[in-house]
C-alpha cells in the first residue's frame, strides 16, 4: 500500500528524507559543540574568550538550523500525508461505490464516514513520516552508541545491550494495543453511525415522544465506546510506561557506572559528564522510535480495516459485450430472485419470471405492494443479480455488458428521491461539470419546474433549499435527472406516487416525450398511468399472473386486466381475487 500511494510522490518523499537526515546530523553535532565548550572552559584562565564566543554563536546558528529542518520536514511530511491519504480516500470511495447493494445495506452512512475518513486520517502520519523518522532515529541512536564505545567499551557494551533489550521489549508489548485499538475504532464507527441515524430521524423521534428512549440507547452505545476507548488507551500506554521504567533503570545504571568508575580512578570528571550527556542522546531516538511504534499500532489497526474494505469484492461485475445503439428489446427467461440466497427458509421474491418486451414498447407492470415489482426492475439495472435465469437487453445477456454502459442506458426513477446538499445543477448532473446550465434549465422546464426555478435566487446554482422541497417537487427533480440523460430503457417505479393528481398532469406530456422511441417499464397503482402501455404484465407473489398486449387483454373478458378495468380501479372488489 505504501508503494502505491507514495510512489507518485517520490520527489517530495526524497525532499522529506533529505530534510530529516540533515536535521539529524545537525542534532548530533550540537552536543559535540557543547563538549568542546566545556572542555575549553575548564581550562580556566587559559581559555580563549574569542573561541568560546564563536562556539556559543555557532551553537545558536546550528540550533536554529535544526529547527528550520524540522519545521520543513513536518510541512513536507504533512503535504505528502495529505496528498497520499486524499488519494486513498478517493480510491476507497470508488471501491465502496462499486460494491453491490447487499454490502451497502449492512452499513450506515455514518459508518462509511468513519471508515473512509476516520481510518484514513489515522494513517496520515504513517504515510508521511513513519519510514523516514524511524530511519533518522536509528541513525541518531547508532551515532550515540558509537560515542559510548569511544569513551569506554564496557559502558558501550552495557548501553548497547540496554538499547536492544528496550527495543525488543517495547516491540513485544506494543502488540497489546492493536486489538483494543481495533475494537475502539469499531465502536467509534458504531457510535457515530448511531448519532447520524438519530439526527436524520430527529422529527420521527421527537413527534413520537421517544427522545428519552433513544437517549438511553445512545448512553448504552456510548458506554461501550467509553469502555473500549479506555481499554485501548491502557493497552497502548503500556509501551510508554515500560519505556519510562526501563529508562529509569538505564539512567541509574549509567550514573552508577560514572560514579563507580570515577571512584575507581578509571575516568575523569569530564568523561563522567559526557556519559550522562550521551545517555540523553540515546533517550531521544528511542523515544522517537517508541512514538512511531504507537503510530504504527494505530495505523496497523486502520490498515487492517481499510484492507478489509478493499478486499470486499462485488459479485456484480460487468462483461465486455457492447449494447447496440437505439431502443433495446428486453427479455426475462425463467428469472428467480431472493434477497437471502443463503437462507433456504426465506421466501423467494421472484420465481420463474419469463416475458418479452419489444424494443421501443412500453410495459405496464401491475401488482399489489410486495408482489416483486420493484425487485424486478432492480434486476434490470443490476443493483442485484438474479439468483437464477437470464435477462437480456437487445439479445445480450446483461451480465455480459459493461456495468457502466448498462446503467447509462437504463434510467430508473425510484420511489424515494435521494438529493444532495448541493446546488440544483449538481443535484441533477451528479456533479458532472460537462453538463451545461442551459441543459439543466431545459430539463427543469420540461418537467414543469420552470416556475419553481424562476423563484430561485441564483438559478440552477442555488443550493437546494433543504426542508422547503416537498416530496412531489423532489419527484419532479428526479424526472429532470432522467431528462438530462439519453437512456434507451426507462424504468418508472410508481412515478406518480407522490404527486397530487393536478400536478401529475404536468408530467404526462413530458413523460410521453421521454418514452417515445424508448423501451419502458412503468410500475403504477393507477390504471390510467398505464393506459398508453403497449403491454401489461400482472405480477402476484413473485410470479407472472398475466402477460400480453394491453389491447388484447382489455378485450378478453376473462383476463385479470379486464377485471381491473371493469372495477374501474386497480384495487376494486373484482380485482381482489386476482391480486391478493
Amino acid at each position: 500500500m505504501l508503494a502505491t500511494y507514495l510512489g507518485p510522490l517520490k520527489w517530495q518523499v526524497m525532499a522529506l528524507a533529505a530534510l530529516l537526515l540533515s536535521g539529524t546530523a545537525l542534532n548530533l553535532s550540537l552536543p559535540q559543540l557543547l563538549r568542546q565548550f566545556v572542555d575549553n572552559a575548564r581550562l580556566g584562565g587559559a581559555a580563549d574568550p574569542g573561541l568560546l564566543t564563536r562556539l556559543a554563536g555557532l551553537y545558536i546558528a546550528l540550533a536554529v538550523g535544526v529547527q528550520v529542518m524540522t519545521a520543513g520536514a513536518t510541512y513536507v511530511g504533512a503535504r505528502v500525508g495529505w496528498t497520499a491519504t486524499n488519494r486513498l480516500r478517493a480510491d476507497l470511495m470508488d471501491h465502496l461505490l462499486s460494491l453491490d447493494m447487499r454490502e451497502h445495506k449492512e452499513r450506515t452512512p455514518g459508518e462509511m464516514i468513519e471508515r473512509i475518513d476516520g481510518d484514513v486520517t489515522a494513517l496520515s502520519n504513517f504515510f508521511s513520516q513513519f519510514a523516514v523518522r524511524v530511519f533518522g532515529a536509528a541513525l541518531l541512536l547508532t551515532g550515540a552508541l558509537i560515542m559510548f564505545f569511544r569513551e569506554d567499551w564496557r559502558v558501550g557494551l552495557g548501553v548497547t545491550a540496554f538499547t536492544l533489550v528496550t527495543l525488543v521489549t517495547i516491540n513485544r508489548v506494543r502488540k497489546l494495543g492493536v486489538e483494543p485499538t481495533r475494537l475502539e475504532r469499531e465502536s467509534s464507527a458504531r457510535l457515530f453511525g448511531f448519532i447520524e441515524e438519530r439526527l436524520t430521524g430527529l422529527e420521527d423521534i421527537r413527534s413520537l415522544g421517544a427522545g428519552g428512549h433513544h437517549l438511553n440507547r445512545f448512553l448504552g452505545v456510548q458506554r461501550e465506546y467509553f469502555t473500549r476507548s479506555v481499554n485501548s488507551w491502557r493497552g497502548r500506554s503500556v509501551v510508554w510506561q515500560l519505556s519510562m521504567l526501563l529508562f529509569a533503570v538505564g539512567y541509574v545504571a549509567v550514573l552508577s557506572a560514572a560514579v563507580g568508575l570515577y571512584a575507581a580512578g578509571s575516568i575523569t570528571l569530564g568523561t563522567a559528564f559526557l556519559m550522562y550527556q550521551y545517555m540523553t542522546l540515546v533517550e531521544e531516538p528511542i523515544d522517537q522510535l517508541t512514538q512511531q511504534l504507537q503510530d504504527l499500532q494505530k495505523a496497523g489497526a486502520s490498515i487492517g480495516r481499510v484492507s478489509e474494505l478493499l478486499a470486499l469484492r462485488t459479485t456484480v461485475t460487468g462483461g465486455s459485450a457492447p449494447l447496440s445503439a437505439g431502443p433495446l428489446a428486453l427479455d426475462f427467461r425463467d428469472v428467480s430472485f431472493t434477497y437471502a440466497p443463503g437462507d433456504p427458509q426465506a421466501r423467494g421474491v421472484l420465481s420463474g419470471v419469463t416475458f418479452h418486451l419489444n424494443a421501443g414498447q412500453t410495459l405496464g407492470l401491475l401488482g399489489r405492494t410486495g408482489s416483486g415489482k420493484t425487485t424486478l426492475t432492480r434486476l434490470i439495472s443490476r443493483l442485484y443479480d438474479a439468483t437464477a435465469g437470464e435477462i437480456t437487453l437487445g439479445g445480450v445477456n446483461i451480465t455480459h455488458v459493461p456495468l457502466k454502459e448498462l446503467r447509462r442506458r437504463v434510467a430508473v426513477v425510484t420511489q424515494d428521491v435521494q438529493l444532495f446538499q448541493a446546488s440544483v445543477r449538481d443535484n441533477l448532473s451528479f456533479f458532472d461539470p460537462t453538463v451545461t446550465d442551459a441543459q439543466v434549465e431545459a430539463a427543469l422546464h420540461e418537467v414543469g419546474l420552470g416556475a419553481w426555478l424562476s423563484r430561485l435566487e441564483r438559478g440552477v446554482h442555488t443550493p437546494l433549499p433543504t426542508g422547503s422541497l416537498s416530496a412531489g417537487q423532489a419527484q419532479l427533480l428526479a424526472f429532470a435527472r432522467v431528462m438530462l440523460r439519453d437512456p434507451s430503457v426507462i424504468i418508472l417505479d410508481e412515478p406518480s406516487s407522490r404527486l397530487d393528481p393536478a400536478t401529475e398532469a404536468l408530467l404526462t406530456a413530458a413523460m410521453t416525450r421521454l418514452l417515445a422511441g424508448r423501451t419502458a417499464i412503468i410500475i403504477a397503482h393507477r390504471l390510467d398511468t398505464v393506459a398508453r402501455a403497449d403491454r401489461i404484465l400482472v405480477l402476484g407473489g413473485g410470479e407472472v399472473l398475466e402477460d400480453g398486449p394491453r389491447a388484447d387483454l382489455a378485450r378478453d373478458p376473462h383476463s385479470h386486466y379486464a377485471a381491473l378495468l371493469r372495477a374501474g380501479t386497480l384495487d376494486g372488489t373484482a380485482a381482489q381475487g386476482v391480486l391478493a
Binding site: V64, P109, H213, L219, W233, L269, R347, Q418, Q473, H525
Partner: protein, 615 residues
C-alpha cells in the same frame, strides 16, 4: 424563524472559561486528583535535574580533594546519596505517571461522554422545534471533533498546573545559581507567549477553515452513501469520486496552512530554548573562567532549560487551544440554536458503568375533546409556507387536508406539531392554549407519521415500539396492514431492518412507521400522505381499520379513499386555507376541489368497502 442564531459578538473568552469551569466541576474529585498527579509528573523533572546536578557537584568536590591530595571517600559517598535520591525520584515518577495517566483517560472520556450526551439529549428532548442547521452528517462532526476539542481542553488546565509548578521551581533553582543569566534567559521566553497571543486570531481562522473543509468532505461521503442506490443507478460513481477529490484538495490546502502556522509557532518556541542555552554559554564563558560557574551549574541550566521552554510553548499553545475551544463552543451553540449556554456542559449522569434508568414516562393523558388552530403562519426561508390558517378538529373526526404539490400541506402539519418554527398563531387543546406543541403534542396525546419516515438500524419490533410497551404491538401491526409483510421477512418482527430501514421496501417502511405511530395509542393521529408508498387498497384498509377505533385523525391525502371518508376536508392553495367542508359541499362549489377529485378518478376508491377485506 422564532429562534434567531445566538449573537456571535458574545465575549467568547468569558464563555469558554465559564463553560469549561462547569465541566471541571462535573467530577471534582477526579479533576483534583488529575491536577495533583500531573502536577507531580510535570514538576518532578526539576527534582531529577537537581539530583543529577548534586551528583556532579559531589564529584567536583572530589576532584578538588583529589587535586589537594586528600581522601575522596566522604565526597564519593555524598555522590552515591545523591544518586540514590535520583533513583528514588525517577522510580516514584514512574508510579505517579501510571496513576496520572489512568486518571486522565478516565476524566477525558467521561467529559467527552457528558458533552455528547448533552448535545444529543437537548436535540432529542428539548422544547420547541429542533432543526439541524446543516446536514446530519455535518452535525455528526460536532459530536466528534468539537466534543473532542472541548473535552480535550481540560488537558490545558490539568497539565498547566504542573507546568506552572515546574516553571516556578526551575526559575528559583536557576536564580539561586545566577539571577542575571536567569533573567536574561527567561525574558525571551515570555516574548513567546506574546507572540502566540498575537497569532491567535489567525490560528482560529485557519482552524475553522480546516474544520469546515473537513466537514464538507465527511458530509459529502455521508450523502453519497445515503444516496448510494441513486448514484449507482445513474452510473455516476466517477463523478462522485472526482467531486470528493476536489473537496479533498481544498481540505489539504486548509490543513497545510494550519500545519505551517503551528510549525511556525513551534519553531519559535524551540529556537527560544536554543537561544537561551546559547546565552548561558555566552554569559557563562566569563564566569567559568573565574570558576563562578561549575559543571554542576551547567548540568542544572542545560537540564532545566528545555522543559522550561516547553512550558512556555505550552502556555502559548494553551492560549491557542483556548481560542479553538471557543470556536467549538460556538459551533455547538449553532447546533443547539436556542439552547442556553450552560446546556452544553450541564451536569447529568452519563451512566458509564451502569444501565440508565427508564426514561421519563410519557406526559399525562388529557383526553382530546377539541383541537383548535388559530391564525397559524409558518414560512420557509424561501418564502413558501402556510399563512394564517385556522380550523378546529373535534374528537373522533376524520379530517383530510388536500391540495396540490407545494400548497403547504406538510408544512401545515409540521408547524402544527411544532416540528418547524412558526411566525404566529396559537393552538388550543380542549380550549387550553398549548405552550409548546413540540413537547405537548406527543403520545399519548398525539402521534405522527411523516411523509418520508426514518427507521433505525435495529429490529422491526424495536423500531415499532421505540421503547414503549409492547401491549399495542399486535394491534398496531394489524391496523397498519403490516401483518402480511411479516411472513415475507426472514424473522418476522425480529428482522433487522438495516441502516435507515434499507432492508425493507418503501411501502414496508411506511407501514412500519404507521405501526410505530399506532403502537403509541394516541388520541390524535396525524398522517402526512402515507399514500406515497401504500397502494390505494392498503391505504383504504388502513382507514377502514381506524374507523373501528375512536381515534381522531388529521390526514394529508389526495386519494379518494381518504377524501370520501372525511368528515371534513380542508383545501389548501398556495399556503392558504381557501375552503373547507364536506366532500359533497366542496365538489359542489369549488373548482379546485373538482379538479383534484376528477384527476384521481382512475386510482380512486369506492366508499363502503365490504368488511371482508379487513384482515
Amino acid at each position: 424563524m422564532t429562534t434567531s442564531p445566538p449573537p456571535p459578538t458574545a465575549p467568547v473568552k468569558e464563555r469558554t472559561f465559564a463553560l469549561s469551569r462547569e465541566l471541571f466541576r462535573y467530577k471534582p474529585g477526579l479533576f483534583a486528583f488529575n491536577l495533583l498527579m500531573w502536577g507531580l509528573v510535570h514538576a518532578s523533572p526539576a527534582l531529577l535535574t537537581l539530583a543529577v546536578s548534586g551528583v556532579f557537584r559531589h564529584l567536583e568536590e572530589a576532584d578538588a580533594l583529589k587535586t589537594g591530595g586528600q581522601v575522596l571517600n566522604p565526597a564519593i559517598a555524598a555522590a552515591w546519596v545523591s544518586l540514590a535520591w535520583f533513583t528514588f525520584v525517577r522510580l516514584s515518577r514512574f508510579g505517579i505517571f501510571y496513576g496520572a495517566f489512568r486518571a486522565w483517560i478516565e476524566l477525558w472520556y467521561t467529559l467527552d461522554a457528558l458533552v455528547r450526551r448533552n448535545l444529543l439529549g437537548y436535540l432529542l428532548t428539548a422544547r420547541r422545534s429542533r432543526r439541524l442547521p446543516d446536514t446530519p452528517a455535518e452535525a455528526v462532526s460536532r459530536f466528534r471533533d468539537d466534543v473532542d476539542d472541548v473535552a480535550g481542553y481540560t488537558e490545558v488546565w490539568v497539565d498547566g498546573a504542573g507546568f506552572v509548578a515546574y516553571s516556578v521551581i526551575a526559575v528559583t533553582l536557576m536564580a539561586r545559581v545566577d539571577p542575571l543569566i536567569t533573567g536574561l534567559v527567561c525574558a525571551p521566553l515570555l516574548l513567546m507567549i506574546a507572540f502566540v497571543q498575537r497569532l491567535s486570531p489567525t490560528i482560529r481562522t485557519y482552524r475553522r477553515r480546516m474544520r469546515e473543509a473537513t466537514a464538507r468532505v465527511t458530509d459529502f461521503i455521508g450523502e453519497t452513501f445515503g444516496a448510494v442506490s441513486a448514484v449507482k443507478l445513474a452510473a455516476q460513481e466517477d463523478r462522485m469520486v472526482t467531486h470528493l477529490r476536489s473537496l479533498g484538495e481544498t481540505r489539504r490546502h486548509a490543513a497545510l496552512r494550519d500545519v505551517l502556522l503551528t510549525e511556525l509557532i513551534r519553531g519559535v518556541n524551540t529556537n527560544m530554548v536554543n537561544l537561551a542555552v546559547g546565552l548561558v554559554l555566552l554569559l557563562g564563558a566569563n564566569k567559568v573562567r573565574g570558576r563562578a560557574l561549575n559543571v554542576d551549574d551547567f548540568v542544572l541550566f542545560i537540564g532545566l532549560l528545555p522543559r522550561l521552554t516547553a512550558s512556555m510553548g505550552f502556555f502559548g499553545d494553551a492560549i491557542a487551544r483556548h481560542r479553538r475551544t471557543g470556536v467549538s463552543y460556538d459551533r455547538m451553540t449553532r447546533l443547539l440554536q436556542d439552547a442556553p449556554d450552560t446546556s452544553i456542559v450541564a451536569h447529568h449522569d452519563v451512566y458509564l458503568s451502569a444501565d440508565p434508568p427508564a426514561p421519563t414516562p410519557a406526559p399525562p393523558h388529557i383526553p382530546l375533546q377539541e383541537l383548535r388552530v388559530q391564525n397559524l403562519s409558518a414560512t420557509h426561508p424561501g418564502g413558501l409556507g402556510v399563512h394564517d390558517i385556522s380550523f378546529t378538529v373535534a374528537r373522533g373526526e376524520f379530517i383530510v387536508i388536500t391540495g396540490r404539490i407545494g400548497s403547504g400541506k406538510s408544512t401545515l402539519l409540521r408547524a402544527l406539531l411544532g416540528l418547524i418554527p412558526t411566525q404566529s398563531g396559537q393552538t388550543y387543546w380542549n380550549g387550553q392554549p398549548i405552550d409548546d406543541p413540540a413537547t405537548f403534542l406527543v403520545p399519548p396525546r398525539s402521534a405522527y407519521a411523516a411523509q418520508i419516515p426514518n427507521l433505525f438500524s435495529d429490529t422491526l419490533q424495536e423500531n415499532i415500539t421505540s421503547g414503549g410497551p409492547a401491549t399495542h404491538l399486535s394491534r398496531a401491526v394489524k391496523l397498519a396492514v403490516l401483518e402480511p409483510d411479516l411472513d415475507t421477512l426472514g424473522s418476522g418482527l425480529s428482522t433487522p431492518v438495516g441502516a435507515r430501514g434499507v432492508k425493507l421496501s418503501g411501502g414496508q417502511i411506511q407501514r412500519a412507521a404507521v405501526a410505530r405511530m399506532l403502537a403509541r395509542d394516541a388520541d390524535l393521529l396525524v398522517f402526512d400522505d402515507v399514500s406515497s408508498a401504500l397502494d390505494a387498497r392498503t391505504e383504504a384498509q388502513l382507514w377502514q381499520g381506524l374507523a373501528g377505533t375512536d381515534a381522531t385523525c388529521l390526514v394529508v391525502s389526495h386519494r379518494r379513499a381518504a377524501l370520501a371518508r372525511a368528515d371534513r376536508i380542508l383545501l389548501l392553495q398556495n399556503g392558504t386555507l381557501t375552503d373547507h367542508g364536506t366532500l359533497p359541499e366542496l365538489l359542489g362549489r369549488n373548482e379546485e376541489m373538482r379538479a383534484l377529485w376528477h384527476d384521481d378518478a382512475a386510482g380512486g376508491e369506492e366508499e363502503g368497502r365490504p368488511p371482508s377485506q379487513l384482515r
